[in-house]
């Protein structure tokens, strides 16, 4: 499809503006003016709307297709959340208002949303407090790791420069640790899919700041030694970071604060049903145990004894400002609506149904694919297409064949320790019929590997484009149409 620029015609307009009601004047001196107008398109509003509507139809989304992208928790996004986010009392609220004198009184409703979401989240995670500021999951990781650094620094324990990270971890974990100045060391995973205790012990020591563990793990498993792991790290003077990308598996059933974790982020755009937006905006609040509360970012939202809410900017030990304001408020608002919908009885129902669906998927598929570990999994199951790969059909090819059958593929080639990985996360909002259709499609593809592998290698053929040449794209990148 042509770019929007191709539809441009000189003189065409797409918007109307208020009439000028002041004298024409401008304080931009001639010498600072651009010589040539920026070459934005000249289209009607209808041209633009049709163009982007047609583009939207070239996408798969949760509302159009089953989207079992492991580790991403592509659950249904309730529609009324969108209506709440555009209420003028929220959408038109300037973030600097609370910084004006007596300004806190101007935003009591918004501060209530943040505070109450914080409170529910702290309760679910089993932590003393949390900050809603981090703007995405990886931003939450960065915040959490900075809190760990501040903790050791405050104790004069500044030799702790190493962050331990399992080999199965999301790439963001080592990247976040590195961005905050830590060196990363990898800890092995054992044959059961747990943290290799011996390897962990051999790497713990007075230079270790902490251990970043995804719980449940990226293999979709609950580490049976998790309490022992947390204790070992504590004994060595380190803190335990929990990557909460997979919190949907344990929400309402396990509180990470109860089992020895000190700090954790969750992704509101995963577990708490806010839209993924094609790659954001997300939100990655961070919960902390008592020992890390003094270091939380500024500002803190507090509730006063008289029931009003206030922002606290005087936090002497705080790591400082990690976000411009109070977080991705529009995302927090949607997540808060979801928390209110679920209520105390709903949280665990979500996790137990998510886990049940993943296990159903695992049991139905395991005769057809390999598995690194064969045991009851959590909210996602990791299959390995090694039997198919030996016959020349790889995880990537299977993914493309799924697209032709109307499904968004699972996450591929992750975690890195599973060859030919297909990580499938059905979520609790999808029905058994949908799961059955997907299972049938995967089994059909697995059988085709023996009967007609060439057909799979050609997939996808039903999409607007066939497989794209990614090598050429990277070798000579064309990343913009300049005027």
């Amino acid at each position: 499809m042509e770019l929007i620029f191709a539809k441009s015609q000189k003189g065409r307009r797409g918007t109307s503006l208020p009439r000028t009601d002041v004298p024409a004047a401008c304080a931009v001196p001639e010498k600072f003016r651009r010589a040539k107008a920026a070459e934005l398109p000249e289209v009607t509003e209808q041209d633009a709307v049709r163009h982007y509507t047609l583009l939207s139809r070239k996408n798969m989304g949760v509302d159009t297709n089953f989207y079992p992208l492991g580790s991403c928790t592509m659950k249904y996004n309730p529609k009324f959340h969108e209506r709440i986010a555009v209420l003028p009392g929220f959408a038109d609220l300037h973030p600097l208002l609370p910084q004006l004198r007596h300004g806190g009184a101007l935003t009591q409703g918004a501060l209530a949303v943040i505070y109450e979401a914080q409170r529910i989240l702290s309760e679910l995670l089993g932590f003393a407090d949390c900050t809603m500021q981090p703007l995405a999951g990886a931003h939450g990781e960065l915040t959490g790791v900075m809190l760990i650094a501040a903790y050791h620094k405050a104790r004069g324990d500044e030799a702790r420069k190493i962050m331990l990270i399992p080999d199965a971890a999301h790439g963001t974990n080592p990247a976040s640790a590195a961005v905050s100045g830590f060196e990363c060391r990898e800890v092995a995973t054992d044959d059961e899919g747990n943290v290799c205790i011996e390897d962990l012990k051999s790497k713990l020591g007075p230079n270790v700041a902490g251990f970043m563990l995804t719980c449940p793990s990226t293999l979709g498993l609950f580490d049976q030694n998790v309490k022992e792991v947390c204790e070992l790290v504590h004994q060595a003077g380190g803190l335990n970071y929990c990557d909460g990308a997979n919190f949907n598996a344990i929400m309402g059933r396990v509180r990470p604060g109860d089992i020895g974790f000190d700090v954790m982020h969750v992704n509101l755009h995963k577990t708490f049903a806010t839209p993924h937006g094609g790659g954001g905006p997300g939100s990655g609040p961070v919960g902390v145990a008592e020992c890390l509360v003094p270091f939380l970012p500024v500002s803190r939202v507090e509730k006063r004894n008289d029931g009003t809410y206030a922002l606290q900017y005087h936090c002497d030990d705080s790591i400082g400002y990690i976000a411009p304001f109070y977080g991705n408020f529009g995302v927090i608002l949607r997540a808060y609506a979801y928390m209110l919908s679920l209520g105390r009885e709903g949280f665990k129902r979500v996790s137990e149904n998510a886990v049940l669906s993943a296990n159903y998927m695992r049991v139905r598929l395991k005769q057809h694919f390999a598995q690194k570990v064969d045991r009851v999994c959590m909210h996602e199951c990791v299959m390995s297409a090694t039997p198919q790969a030996e016959k020349g059909v790889h995880a990537l090819d299977i993914a493309k064949a799924l697209i032709d059958r109307g499904f968004h593929p699972p996450t591929m080639y992750f975690p890195l320790i599973v060859p030919e990985a297909l990580m499938i996360e059905p979520t609790e909002t999808e029905s058994k019929e949908t799961l059955d259709e997907f299972i049938s499609a995967l089994i059909e593809i697995a059988e085709m590997v023996d009967t007609n592998p060439e057909e799979i290698l050609k997939c996808p053929v039903t999409t607007p484009v066939k497989r794209l040449d990614e090598t050429a794209a990277a070798r000579k990148p064309v990343v913009a149409d300049l005027a």
Binding site: R13, G14, Y321, P324, L356, T434
Partner: protein, 446 residues
């Protein structure tokens, strides 16, 4: 309601398949043996109707109806309805990062068009798919300069948004980076002091254009002097102003970032917003974040993919250019649809309206006895005035009269307690501006 699809009958059949009697046994077999927490302190679940009523009441407690002259980097511009109509297309907002390009051409082409428009506005050849916000974008720019120059000293002007500077200080605190903050002039960046601060260890100099006081400055010779010392010139900018101003790319900047909220994204109490970033060709492979590139399929049909992924965390892990994964894609889509609807002439008209109304507002305010200008006459839509009283106190009193009159600079600049930063957008009318001046005169002299 927890939005669960399966019925009890479905569950029973699924349990049979996995060989568990019930959820309790399933958890046990999954090795989840820790005691179950009590959630009795949490509220009971509510229906959609009840949640909406509850949140409408909270929304009504916010003073979003104040007449807004508050900016400081976050502006109250007109947003055409078409913007939210398109971003509400569920094919866009319920998708994830386009890892499967054949099933995500809508998102990918939108990113490519967005990158193209950011390039055209900034005058740079390369842009990424978005970063979290203007502050994190400026931090990422700094880190890119540090990587590219292998130097660890950074010079930043205090005429850069104090909010961004606080974020950068926070992120740098554990890194071996020497951050040199250079005090601003009256309402300018004090270019000479910035140049004087540069040494042969300087990775980059970071400025804002127009600066936080609203002043437009001439950077054309400055960047050449920075380059002479083999350092990089970085600027944070306000995209609407670029409809009128010489684009940073033509002024010799190496990295251009900014807050993109002004392009069709609601103020929404601080987010989600949009960090944008554009760089020179030379820096493309050192840039953080997603980048969309144009390519072709086996039949020669044009299509789009995420490219240069070896820069990113999921491949490079601790050696990645950044830890960013999820960015602000839907906000970038808002900016794209905004720029498409407003268009080439429309964006100039928006900017001219802002500029004319700002000139009018400044004249009206300076006509009040005791109100003085701060800084010169070259500004876009934001300017500083000095009041004969504490600006914070004056703004507090203006709220009672229905105005968010501006941002009192004393909050971030101890020596500017009487200074007020006033922003004027195309939304403000002549009547509102006159009423603002009348109300302020009342506050100052009654």
């Amino acid at each position: 309601m927890p939005y669960i699809a399966n019925t009890q009958a479905d569950r029973e059949e699924m349990f049979k398949h996995i060989g568990c009697a019930d959820f309790a046994e399933m958890w046990r077999q999954a090795q989840v043996t820790v005691p179950e927490p009590s959630l009795d302190s949490l509220p009971h679940g509510l229906s959609e109707f009840e949640v909406v009523s509850n949140l409408k009441q909270l929304a009504a407690k916010n003073a979003s109806e104040l007449v807004n002259f508050l900016g400081a980097g976050y502006y109250d511009h007109i947003i055409p309805a078409a913007v939210s109509d398109i971003t509400s297309r569920t094919e866009f907002y319920t998708a994830y990062t386009p890892y499967q390009p054949e099933a995500s051409q809508g998102t990918l082409q939108a990113i490519y068009e967005y990158q193209s428009m950011i390039c055209r506005l900034t005058g740079m050849p390369v842009a990424n798919a978005s970063l979290y916000d203007g502050g994190t974008a400026l931090f990422e720019a700094m880190m890119m300069a540090v990587r590219a120059t292998r130097r660890r000293q950074v010079v930043i002007s205090e005429a850069v948004s104090p909010i961004f500077r606080k974020m950068i200080e926070c992120y740098s605190s554990n890194l071996d980076i020497e951050l040199i903050s250079v005090p601003a002039g009256t309402a300018d960046s004090n270019q000479q002091a910035l140049l004087d601060a540069v040494t042969d260890a300087t990775a980059c100099v970071m400025v804002q254009y127009p600066n936080v006081f609203g002043t437009i400055e001439d950077w054309s010779e400055f960047t050449a002097q920075i380059h002479a010392g083999k350092a990089m010139a970085v600027c944070s900018t306000y995209p609407i102003s670029l409809a009128l101003l010489t684009p940073p790319g033509e002024l010799g900047f190496d990295i251009v970032t900014g807050e993109g909220q002004s392009m069709g994204i609601p103020l929404s109490f601080g987010g989600p917003y949009l960090g944008f970033m554009a760089v020179t060709e030379k820096l493309m492979r050192k840039m953080p974040g997603r980048i969309c590139g144009r390519t072709a399929d086996a039949d020669g049909r044009e299509g789009f993919v995420l490219t240069l992924q070896t820069r990113e965390q999921h491949i490079r892990r601790e050696a990645a250019m950044s830890n960013i994964c999820t960015n602000e894609n839907l906000c970038a889509l808002s900016a794209l649809v905004y720029l498409s609807c407003v268009g080439k002439q429309g964006l100039i008209d928006v900017a001219e309206l802002c500029a004319a109304k700002a000139v009018f507002a400044r004249e009206q305010l300076l006509a009040i006895k005791g109100v003085e200008p701060v800084g010169g006459d070259a500004f876009f839509n934001e300017f500083v005035i000095k009041l004969p009283m504490d600006a914070g106190e004056a703004v507090g009193k203006m709220i009672d009269k229905g105005f968010a009159a501006g941002f009192p600079l004393g909050r971030y600049y101890a020596d500017r307690s009487n200074q007020l930063l006033v922003a004027v957008t195309e939304k403000r009318t002549r009547e509102e501006i006159k009423a603002l001046a009348n109300a302020l005169e009342g506050v100052l002299w009654n």
